[in-house]
Symmetry: C2
Subunit: 237 residues, 2 copies
């Protein structure tokens, strides 16, 4: 972590909040570091649109200053199992997850999300953005890698009026980057995150239950197992 706990720094920060486990933990860390949290979520045509309702509940329960839910029609472009009728890959265990970049990759998703978070952060007069990417129990997405994040940060510092005028440089905080899923969960539990309010599933059932077999469900299950913390998720299978 880049700042001491309870530093009371009183700066605003924009936190990307998906409704999942990682971003809820990231929000808790930002709060613990003393940032005034503004949460941003995206309704982008994802098949697991139910995650937006989870994000709303998390934002409310964790007391953010404001929660922006932004519509962007990435399904207009397609190219992903999350935004089209391509099937979401399912497996029996984490070991069976395919190597390489999975079909659930959404073209340029984190670039689009960070760009919109950057726009809001500039109006809020802050350069602090938080994103819950991690490089250990890793999704395989290119736009979750540290080298992408650092490059986005450099670009952002040339993009905005506030950064160019030297008022507040852009800093992309990635507090989960070096943590395993189990370490993320332990951190969140210590900070009071209620993981029953989160969802990780890419392909929930019609009544909102997690499928239990997409990459994201499998990584979540193993994380709780390794953390030796009960998983509050209701899985369909």
């Amino acid at each position: 972590m880049k700042a001491p706990l309870n530093s009371g720094n009183d700066q605003a920060a924009v936190i990307l909040l998906s409704g999942g486990l990682d971003s809820a933990t990231t929000l808790a860390i930002a709060k613990t570091q003393g940032f005034r949290p503004y949460a941003i979520s995206f309704r982008y045509g994802q098949r697991h649109g139910v995650e937006i309702e989870f994000a709303r509940n998390i934002a409310k329960q964790m007391g953010v200053v404001e929660h922006a839910v932004v519509d962007i029609d990435l399904a207009r472009f397609g190219g992903s199992a999350l935004t089209s009728d391509l099937p979401v890959p399912k497996h029996q265990s984490v070991e069976q997850i395919s190597r390489g970049i999975p079909l659930t990759y959404v073209p340029a998703r984190n670039t689009v999300f960070l760009a919109l978070a950057l726009a809001w952060s500039e109006v809020l007069e802050t350069g602090n953005l938080f994103i819950g990417v991690n490089a250990v129990d890793y999704s395989g997405y290119p736009d979750c890698r540290p080298e992408f994040i650092r490059s986005f940060e450099s670009m952002a510092n040339l993009a905005t009026k506030a950064a160019v005028e030297g008022r507040h440089p852009v800093k992309i905080h990635t507090p989960l980057i070096d943590l395993t899923k189990a370490q993320i969960i332990r951190t969140g539990v210590r900070l009071g995150v209620d993981y029953a309010l989160t969802t990780s599933c890419y392909d929930p059932t019609a009544n909102g239950l997690a499928c239990g077999h997409c990459d994201s469900c499998l990584l979540r299950k193993r994380g709780f197992l390794e953390a030796e913390i009960p998983d509050p998720t209701q899985y369909a299978n």
Copy 2:
């Protein structure tokens, strides 16, 4: 220009098309370079939303393969005279335009636009993006500078599956970057652009006439004067 005229390269390219003079010229250049043009326009809550209708007409008249009009509610964030009720600055001549970054700057606009164009380009299996920024008769926007564009290109090459897998690196074409407004207009006229189909005004009247006094109108007027080409625009004043 980076490629010879009529090279017949047959690659797809995504062209940012605002409905203005610069982007229409950029589209003409991309076509002349042999690219199969896909145009993308953004309805982002701009007060000059009429430019979208101009973009539709330009796209149709210039024969693009497809024209995507994407909604993103940047007015949700505010912070600009173009997306809020802050007044658009007006002047009598180009010389009176304020130094520095103007009030019409929209936070992170080109970052957001290029991010969405990048998403589409990846699905279209191309890395070619065209944007009509220029550094001479310059808007003062930080995200129109060459250093921003180069940095976005580097970031994009770490962001997408296609770039990371080496299938098609991202190349951001800026064919207008070193041209004056007059040179842009002369180029467009040579390539058959009908500038009567374009609009530059930030603050059109209720019946769609250009105001004649915003920075964008003033730069346009001077460009036609210097190019010694009649300006087809109907100005209210």
